[in-house]
Every structure is written in C-alpha cells, then in structure tokens.
C-alpha cells in the first residue's frame, strides 16, 4: 500500500479507494476511471497513486478479464500529470528517488497485466498523465479542440521521470521522442496521431465504444503507412536505424548541441533527458526506471527546477486573478491610437475572439494596422494550420474607424496615444462622453500616472492602467495599474481580459515606471554609464547573455528605442530623484536618424545579417576610460535592478515577492532559471549582497541606487527571506 511515507499527500487527501473507480463492463472488460473527489482535474498525487495501485492489485487477482480501459472523468478530462505542488516542496533527494521508484513500480505492474490495456483519453494529457497512458498497449485520443498531449517536463526544469524517457523513444523512435521532450510541446490530436504518440483518434461520443472494441479485440488498429510504426520502406528504415548505436549517438549529440546553444548550459534538464532517452534502448524496465529516478532526484531537488516551478505556479496563480469576484466578461473593446502598441493590442484581441474597434485620426494609419493584422493572422494560421473560417473571424473582428463613432457598444476602451498628459486627458474626456456609462477606460501608458489621467474625469473609478509590453503579441506580461480610486471590480475585469488575451496579469501600484520599467531604469542607465566609462558594448551584452538575460542591455536599448528610453529615464528621475539620475549618454547619441533599431542605428548598426557596433561609439564617450572586471559589470547592472526591486516590494508596488519575481521575469526576461531578482538575491545571500552594494555605492556617480534598501538590510541582519505568500 502506498502511503504518505512514500509520496507526499495533500492535506485534503480523501480516503483510500475513492480516487480510482474500477468498473465492470461485462464480456471480460473492465474500466479504470481516475476521478479523485478532491480535484476537478485528476493529478498523479499520493492518494490517486495509492488508489491506482489498489486497482492494479484487484486486476492482478482476476483471470477472467480480457481487456481493460484506462480513462478519466470524461472524454476531455483525464489527468494533469504529476503533483506540481509536491515538486515545489520536495528537497530531499532520497525521498524524491523513493517517490519516483514507487510510481515506476506501480506503472510497471500495470504494464505487465496480461490484459489488453487501452487508454481512452482526451483534453489535456500532459507529462505524467501521458506517461501513464504509455503503459497501455494502445492509446485512443479524443479528437477534440481542447485535446493536448505531450511531455512538458523540461519546461519546468525536470525530465519525464515516470517512464517518458524510455517508453516514448520505444514507441516513436529517438528523433521524434527528443523533439517531443525537448520542445515540451503539447500537441493537438491530429499531430499527436501523425507523430505516432497515440494510435487512433475518436470523437468524444465514440471514445469509450471504440476503446472497448479495441480492448476486446473486436476492432484492430490499421497500421499507418508513414511514421515510426508505419509499413512503408522509410518507416522500416527508421526502425532499423533506431537500433543502431552510432545513429542514436549522432541524433543525441545534435540535440545536445542545439540545446546548449539555446540555454548556454544554464538548464540541466534537457541534457539529462537527452542522455536518458539515448541510452534507454535495450535496458530492462527496472534499469531504465532507476536511471530516471536518479536523474529526477537530482533535478527536482535542484535550484533550477524549483525556480521554474515557482514561475509556473506564479503564472497559474496570476491567471486566477481573472476569476476574482466582480470580474466580468468583456465582449467588445475599443482601442484608441493605431501606433505599434494600439495596433498590437487590437490585433491580439481580434485574434483571441474579442470584437475590436481600433480608432485613429488618420485612415491610412488604420489601414497599415489592419494590413499588419491580416498578415500576422495569416502567418499564425499557416503555422498552426488554423481553419479558414477562424482566420475569417479574426479578420472580421478587427474594425477600424476614424474618430469615436462606434465606441458606444464597447465594454472597455484601451487608450494608446502619445505619452503626453494633456493629450491623454483630452482623449479620456472625449471617451467619457462617447462610451456608455460604466464602460471601463484603460490607459496603456508606461510613464504617466493613472491618477493624473483620471483626476478631472466624472467617474475616476472606472479608469485603470493596462500596460502591455512591446511586442504585444510576444510579451506575456500585462501590468494592471490600480489608480488610487480605481474600483476593485474594474481591476478584476481587466485581469480577466488579460488572461483571455493569453497574458499574465500582475496588479501594480500607480508609481512612476510601475514595476517593470522602474527596475529596468537603473539597469539600462547603469549600462549607459559603463559605456561612458569605456566598457565595450559587445562585452557587456555578452556578459548579460551569459547571466541568462534574453538580450544584452545595449541590444535592448536599441530595441526599445533610444528616444523612448530617454523619455522613460526622464520621467523616472522626476519621480524618484537622485538614484534615477540618468547619464548624458543617450542624449548624446539621440538624433532623428539615430533612435535604435527602428531607424537602423543606435548603439549598434542594424540592417546587416547581424547588428554590429556603430563605428563612431568612441567619439561619444566623455568620461575617462577605465577597465572593468566581469564581476563589476554584472553586479552593477544586476544589483542596480535587484535593489530597485526590493524597494518596489517594500513600497508594496506589488503584493508579494512571488508576484514581483514573476513580473520581472515575464516583463524583462530576467534569467528564468534564477527565479527572479528576489530569489537571486536570496541565493547570493542577503548580507553579502548588502556589503557588495555598499562597495558599489562608494565609487558610483549615483550612489543612491546602490544604497542597500532598508528592507534588505533588515532581512540580512535577521537572516530572513522575502515574504512569499
């Protein structure tokens, strides 16, 4: 019997036998149904595994059965995989190893049952859930829109440890298995069948009948022509090659190389998965299980997995903000200003099933926005093989119009016009007239105060900040800015919309730069100062890439636009004073033809195959040149950012340290494996960071940004950590 000495049990664990139902279907057929009473979607947690093991016990004692079906509550609800909360809390390698081997033992007993085992699953079938179905002889998958199947473990810094690293390669061959494991993609039904992840698709209504007929041998699977298990010559060749050692090594080494290129060695899980999958062939099931258990124990106890899991859990928690009390569905939104941001927001909405009306003063700007929307929609459709009717709908939902006609029906309007207070105020007072009572009016401002914008309007409670990042389609974060008078249900509704648009909302206070731009301010300015002191921009960028940033600070400045960065810097200085004092470098560079990537020239010259440093950089430095060591560069940049993050937390710009770490990772790309700025500080040790900051402050032109924040000093002295929940 499995108990909580082997696997952690959640506090609300139900009594034994209640999570898995074993049902007789007659004719020698039985059905295992995962339906834990304490979860809406089953999770492979302690109680479920305990009861699954009991069901296997019962089946082992039976000799009259011919087949068994493994299924979930419904054809579109099976299980969500391993217990992520448990993974977040497990730290003892021995305990983790015990857990994994226990699971393997149960799975192996199930796989060894002398019955025809057919998995009949659908909806999300990620990770452990898929690994469980891999123990069956056949997998039948629901051909439904919501079906997604795959092994996303490496995205969480772990490997598919419940058999995925050996059962999947055996099923689909090493190359396909590695593709599935390393991308962590969750495949739609048709693609899963094509790749051979499953054996057959069935409609929701037919799933159980077909699975029964297969289990009883009344129906056979027709083998495909193509693919790893196919009948064609190329399929046969694939199978032969897959057994050849050097071929496997070649595939693995290629995969390894591409992983290292992407991760710079910061992420151990994919490498470990490649190794496991490569060497899985020809090993006994117990041996393979042992190796997976070893690898999983190291990874789960490790820091990277903990950090990645915390990001995942943080995002999930943020998505729940859309289900708060008072959150309403928004059917139609208006967007004012068809610039890059406005057009991006409108396009995102129309692509996600929201009716959108985009307004600007000039028809030709609207035309460009619409053209871009259609192009992006078609591009996305091609990639995802979306149906034509869905493309049509995305195109139809994108309305444009000069002026504010047609805004009366909008439930929410997002303003994305020029970043000037008087312009925004004028737009909002027009909007207050044109929109229906109670419609939410949101501003996409990045540098102005929501309160200042709302101050003279009749109903300031409906004004809220909704700060998207550029490029809108790609950046996952949305800062939801609470003005001092913004109504809570307005915040809730806006969060709900953000989630519907596929974004992660983080509520922030109405302070200059909000959260993300506020912490980026000192980081980017410190980079400019390093440049002024003679540091090589390529070296600085390389060091930050090695730290784990998605791009270096100078590449980022060019991307953002030097004009935008300078404007943001100014407003931050106005808001925070000395510690945000900006260097004169940007002003020196800035010219109409030199605003970053959009004009082709910034710190780098763009347009070639790769950006190269501009040729005149030396003439733009004014401080006496001096040398920097790597540590100084990294610490000046990163600690300037982190110290500001601590100040923001202290001032309650966000509610929790978790939210702060999540927002900074999603908003700036801050090295995800480090778990965010606050986790990074904790990892380095707060007292050593405090002394390092003091040292940096001594030689800095802007010592204020390096003065250790009081909250940090306090925690360093008491040995505490930042408040998480």
């Amino acid at each position: 019997m499995i108990d909580d000495t082997l696997i952690p049990f959640p506090p609300d664990a139900p009594e034994a036998g209640s999570c898995v139902r074993l049902e007789e279907l007659g004719e020698g057929l039985a059905k295992i149904v995962l339906e834990p009473p304490h979860r809406s979607l089953a999770v492979l947690d302690g109680p479920l595994l305990r009861d699954f093991s009991m069901a296997v016990d019962a089946l082992e004692r039976r000799s009259d059965l011919k087949g068994v079906i493994l299924t979930g509550r419904s054809p579109t609800s099976f299980a969500a995989g391993a217990d992520i909360d448990a993974i977040a809390n497990l730290t003892d390698q021995g305990q983790i190893r015990k857990l994994v081997t226990t699971v393997h033992a149960v799975f192996a007993r199930f796989a060894a049952l002398p019955l025809r085992k057919v998995a009949a699953v659908g909806g999300p079938v990620p990770g452990g859930a898929f690994e469980l179905t891999l123990c069956c002889d056949l997998i039948v998958l629901t051909n439904a829109k919501e079906t997604r199947i795959g092994l996303p473990e490496t995205q969480l810094g772990i490997v598919p440890g419940f058999g995925g690293c050996h059962r999947l390669p055996a099923r689909v061959g090493l190359p396909t298995a590695l593709q599935a494991i390393l991308t962590g993609r969750l495949f739609p039904a048709k693609q899963a069948l094509k790749l051979g992840l499953v054996d057959r698709l069935a409609q929701v209504e037919d799933l159980e009948r077909i699975a029964s007929e297969l289990a009883l041998g009344q129906q056979r699977i027709r083998r495909p022509r193509r693919g790893f298990r196919g009948t064609s010559w190329s399929s046969r060749l694939q199978r032969v090659l897959d057994a050849v050692g050097p071929f496997r090594s070649f595939v693995a080494s290629k995969a390894r190389k591409s992983v290292l290129q992407k991760t710079r060695g910061h992420y151990p899980a994919p490498l470990s998965a490649i190794d496991l999958a490569k060497t899985s062939r020809g090993r006994s099931a117990t041996e393979a299980a042992d190796r997976e258990a070893d690898a999983t124990a190291v990874l789960v106890a490790g820091r990277v997995a903990k950090n990645l899991v915390s990001i995942f859990l943080g995002s999930e928690a943020a998505k729940k903000l859309g289900r708060q009390e008072g959150a309403e569905d928004v059917g139609r939104i208006g967007v004012i200003g068809a610039g890059v941001m406005g057009a991006g927001i409108a396009s995102l909405g129309a692509g996600r099933g929201v009716d959108v009306r985009l307004s600007d003063l000039d028809q030709s700007v609207l035309d460009q926005a619409e053209l871009r929307h259609r192009k992006e929609t078609l591009k996305r459709a091609k990639k995802r093989r979306t149906e034509t009717s869905e493309v049509d709908r995305a195109i139809d939902r994108f309305e444009t119009g000069v002026g504010l006609g047609g805004f009366a029906g909008c439930d929410l309007v997002v303003e994305a016009v020029a970043e000037r207070l008087e312009v925004k105020r004028a737009v909002f007072s027009e909007l207050a007239e044109a929109c229906r009572e109670g419609a939410i009016l949101a501003t996409n401002t990045s540098s102005l105060s929501v309160d200042a914008i709302a101050s003279k309007l009749p109903d300031p409670g409906r004004i809220v900040g909704l700060h998207f990042f550029n490029p809108v389609a790609k950046m996952p974060l949305v800062e939801v800015v609470r003005g001092s008078r913004t109504r809570p249900e307005v915040v809730a509704t806006v969060c709900r919309l953000a989630v519907r648009l596929g974004k992660t909302p983080v509520p922030v206070a109405d302070v200059p730069g909000f959260l993300v731009n506020r912490v980026l301010g000192p980081y980017l300015d410190e980079a400019a100062r390093l440049f002024d002191e003679g540091a090589d921009i390529q070296r600085v960028d390389r060091l930050m890439l090695e730290f784990g940033m998605p791009m270096g600070p100078f590449a980022l400045l060019d991307e953002v636009g030097l004009d935008v960065a300078a404007h943001a810097g100014r407003s931050m200085f106005e808001g925070y004073g000395e510690r945000m004092q900006t260097s004169l470098v940007l002003g020196r560079l800035l010219a109409p033809e030199r605003m970053g990537r959009k004009t082709g020239l910034g710190f780098f010259k763009h347009g070639g195959s790769k950006p190269v440093p501009a040729s005149d950089l030396n003439g733009l430095r004014e401080l006496p040149s001096r040398s920097h060591d790597d540590d100084e560069i990294v610490d000046r940049l990163v600690l300037a950012l982190c110290a500001e993050a601590v100040r923001a937390l202290d001032e309650s710009v966000v509610e929790t340290a978790d939210q702060l770490d999540l927002a900074v990772i999603l908003g700036t790309g801050f090295a995800p494996f480090r778990g965010g700025p606050l986790r990074y500080l904790e990892r380095r040790g707060l007292s050593s960071v405090v002394s390092r900051l003091k040292f940096l402050a001594e030689s800095s032109a802007t010592p204020g940004r390096f003065l250790p924040p009081k909250a940090m000093v306090g925690l360093a002295e008491s040995g505490g950590r930042f408040e998480r929940v």
Binding site: Q363, Q368, D396, E399, G406, G409
Partner: protein, 441 residues
C-alpha cells in the same frame, strides 16, 4: 390605402455602403460575405444597435458565391450578428438590393419583425467560369466508375475542347426567355424610340461629370465606408483602403466616348462600354424598421418608405420597366411626376435611360401600356440622377438597389426635399419603384 400610425411607418433608419470598385480591380480578391459583412458590421457599430436585437437579416444578391448559397446568413454571422438571428437571401436580378429592403419592410409591416438589417451585395469579380455539360458529365461518370478499365475508357473520351469555359457573367446577363443580352434589349428600345448614339454619349458624359462633382464636394463621404481590400489572386495586398468610387472618369468628353465601338450591334448600334454601366463590386447595408423603434433606439431615420411597387413588362424591352413601376407608385400615392424632388433612375444603359424618358413623356405609350389617358410627364433632367449614376459609378447588380435607396434617402436632406424616387429596370422584364419621403424626427 389604410393610413398607418406615424410610429408604425417603415423607415430606412441608417445605411452605409462600400465604394463601388471596377470588377477585376480593387475588390478582385473580395468575397461577398466579407464585403457585405464588413459594411453590415459597421452600420451596427455606428448606430450602436445591439446585434442580438436585430430580428432578421435579409441580403439581396444576384450571384451568391457557389460556396455560400445563402450568403445572407454568412454575412450576418461575419457581421457579428448572433447565431439565433435568422437570415435569408433574396433575388430579383438588378433589384435584389431593393427586394431585400422591400421584403424586410413587408416583414415589419406584418409584425413578423421590427428591426431588419438588409444588405445588397455583389462581387462580380468573383463570378465563376464554368465547365461545359460534356465535361461535367464525364467527371460525374469518372467519380462513379468502379474499375481502372472503366476509368481509362472514360478518359479516352476526353477532348481538349471540354476545357473551354463558359463565362457565368455573360450567360447571366442574357435573358433565357427572349435570348437577348441586356445590351441588346437596350439597343432595341433605343432603336424603337429613335435615339441616336450622340444622345447616349452625351448622357453618359453628363453622368461622369455629375459623379465627379458629387465626389469632389464630398457628397458620398457620408455614404461610404472605406474598406481595406482583401488581396486578389497573385496580387500584393492593397496598401490603402478604398474610399471613393473608382470608375468615375474625370474630365470625360463626348468626343472620347464617340470613338468607342458599339458592342452589341456593330457598326450602327448605340451601346458602347462608355455609355453602359460597368461591371462592378460593392456592398450596401440599410436598417429597416419602424419610425417609432428607430427613434427609441436614438437614431435619426434617413427616410420613410412610402410606397414600393413592382411591374412586369416585355423581357426583350426590360429597360422600360421603370415606367410601368413608377406609374404604379404614382397611382398608389396620388402624386405627380413633378412632385418628386429627385429621381434615382438606374443607368443600366444611356439609351435605356433616354428611352424611359421618352416613354414617360409619351401619351401613346401611356395609353397603350399603362392604361392611362395622358402621359406621365416630362422627366426633369436636373432632378434625374443629380449625383450621376451607374454609368459613372458602376452597377454591382445585387447592391445597386440598396445604393439607389441610400443615395435617394440622403438626397432628401441634401436638397431639403419632400419626396424622392428610386426606380430601376430589371432583367427578365420587370421594373421596380420606391417612393421615399422625408422623415422628420
């Protein structure tokens, strides 16, 4: 006539159209459902009407795309009208747009509906080419063939000539009962009423001039929704939306027109491509409801629909249809021709419009065909198509009726008129006429 309470009068509550674009031009890549849906969606947005409170959608279209037999339904859904609202497509050749409004009005009058969204739409660019019967027959048999031998035997019957397409547009513009093309019917009445080629060219030239003036002073601005065209086959996507009717020829001259060769009756005919309407793409949406409901929704209606009449006539003289239909409208309302401040008479062909004018003024015609003692009256050329007509703008068949109504409705306010008339000839030998009346809030 039973007097109707003012609240129950049927009105055109709002309307909007796309620009009229030459076929094979800007809207070549368009699809009737997208173009119609676009303009319908915009009317709903601008009026602020809740789409779920629309009772029905009616589209007029002569040649719906083959994959959208009930194109009205597709338009409704693409316009964002909820799926529980029913939709249908109606046709009466060139009057399909009016038919949509007329049948919507009937529904409202009968109490079956109160608020109807109507759309007239035609993308003539998309009219298909058709394989001949022989090839169709062969393909049909191929599909049913069971053995390889059968298939091969059938394939030997294939002839290269099977690939010659039939042009749906040309065949659609030919009357199957009299065998005449629409242009030939225009030649016929032109001859019978003794009209010259010069007269036709002069009329066409004036149509362009008026349209040009109207466009330049922004007369069509309030009618037209600029639409960014979907890209045509093999074309790069258009960089800008189309907001003006693109077949108006600036500075058109009679001299230039006189150089064109007749199309249907060579060499002496009077119908050329210059004095006939163009093949065109476009869509136009109109909201039909009661006056009371329109006011309750906060709209200011464009016009009251006073009278709608249809009439049949000789298919080979279909161009005279407006005379028969207008006679009925005048009789029904007790008005005289001179009471009509503006007349939107569809310009299928210049010689057809002129023939209609002659028939209006002819006592003999009135006696022989209309059962009247006296002629209907002279058509005042100033009041006739004051903003030009189909010769300059084009004639997207299913959408034209809707545009005529929209333009005539706006003309009431434009010239401060009491009444305006819309009338057109209909292939197959019919005429339609609608009397619009000023609708004061």
């Amino acid at each position: 006539m039973v007097p109707v309470p003012r609240d129950q009068e049927i009105v055109l509550a709002a309307g909007l159209r796309t620009a009229w674009a030459k076929a094979g031009g800007e809207f070549e890549g368009e699809d009737a459902a997208h173009l119609g849906g676009r303009v319908a969606r915009e009317v709903l947005a601008r009026t602020g009407l809740d789409p779920s409170r629309i009772d029905e959608v009616v589209a007029g279209c002569v040649g719906p795309p083959h994959d959208q037999a009930n194109v009205g339904r597709v338009i409704a859904l693409r316009a964002g009208v909820p799926q529980q609202v029913p939709a249908r497509t109606v046709a009466r050749n060139c009057a399909s747009g009016i038919e949509a409004v007329a049948s919507a009005a009937q529904s409202v009058r009968a109490g079956d509906a109160e608020m109807v969204l109507t759309v007239g739409v035609e993308v003539m660019s998309a009219y298909p080419l058709i394989f001949g019967d022989a090839f169709r027959h062969l393909i049909g048999k191929l599909h049913r063939a069971k053995t390889l031998g059968q298939r091969i035997r059938l394939l030997t019957k294939f002839r290269l000539g099977f690939l010659a397409p039939r042009i749906a547009l040309m065949e659609g513009l030919t009357d199957p009962t009299c065998g005449l093309n629409m242009g030939q019917t225009a030649e016929r009445i032109g001859r019978e009423f003794g009209l010259s080629r010069e007269a036709a060219d002069c009329y066409a030239c004036e149509s362009h001039r008026r349209a040009q003036v109207a466009r330049d002073r922004g007369r069509f601005k309030r009618e037209i929704l600029p639409v960014l065209p979907l890209p045509g086959y093999g074309k790069k996507p258009a960089r800008a939306s189309l907001g003006v009717d693109d077949s108006i020829r600036d500075g058109q001259t009679v001299e230039a027109l006189s150089k064109l060769r007749p199309v249907f009756e060579k060499p002496d005919g009077r119908v050329t491509v210059g004095n006939a309407c163009g093949i065109t793409d476009g869509a136009c949406a109109l909201i039909v409801t009661t006056r009371g409901r329109a006011l309750a929704e906060g709209l200011s209606p464009l016009a009251t629909l006073r009278s709608v009449r249809w009439a049949g006539c000789d298919p080979s003289r279909m161009g005279l249809g407006p005379v028969y239909a207008t006679a009925k409208v005048l009789q029904a309302t007790g008005l005289e021709l001179e009471d009509l401040g503006a007349i939107e008479l569809n310009e299928a062909f210049a010689s057809q419009v002129l023939a209609v004018g002659k028939a209006f003024a002819s006592r003999k015609f009135a006696q022989e065909h209309l059962g009247l003692d006296e002629a209907l009256g002279e058509l005042d050329p100033i009041r006739l198509n004051p903003n030009g007509g189909a010769i300059a703008l084009g004639h997207p068949v299913g959408a034209t009726g809707s545009r005529l109504l929209l333009t005539a409705a706006h003309e009431l306010a434009e010239q401060d008129l009491e009444h305006s008339l819309v009338t057109l000839c209909i292939g197959g030998g019919q005429g339609g006429a609608v009397l619009l009346e000023r609708c004061d809030g």
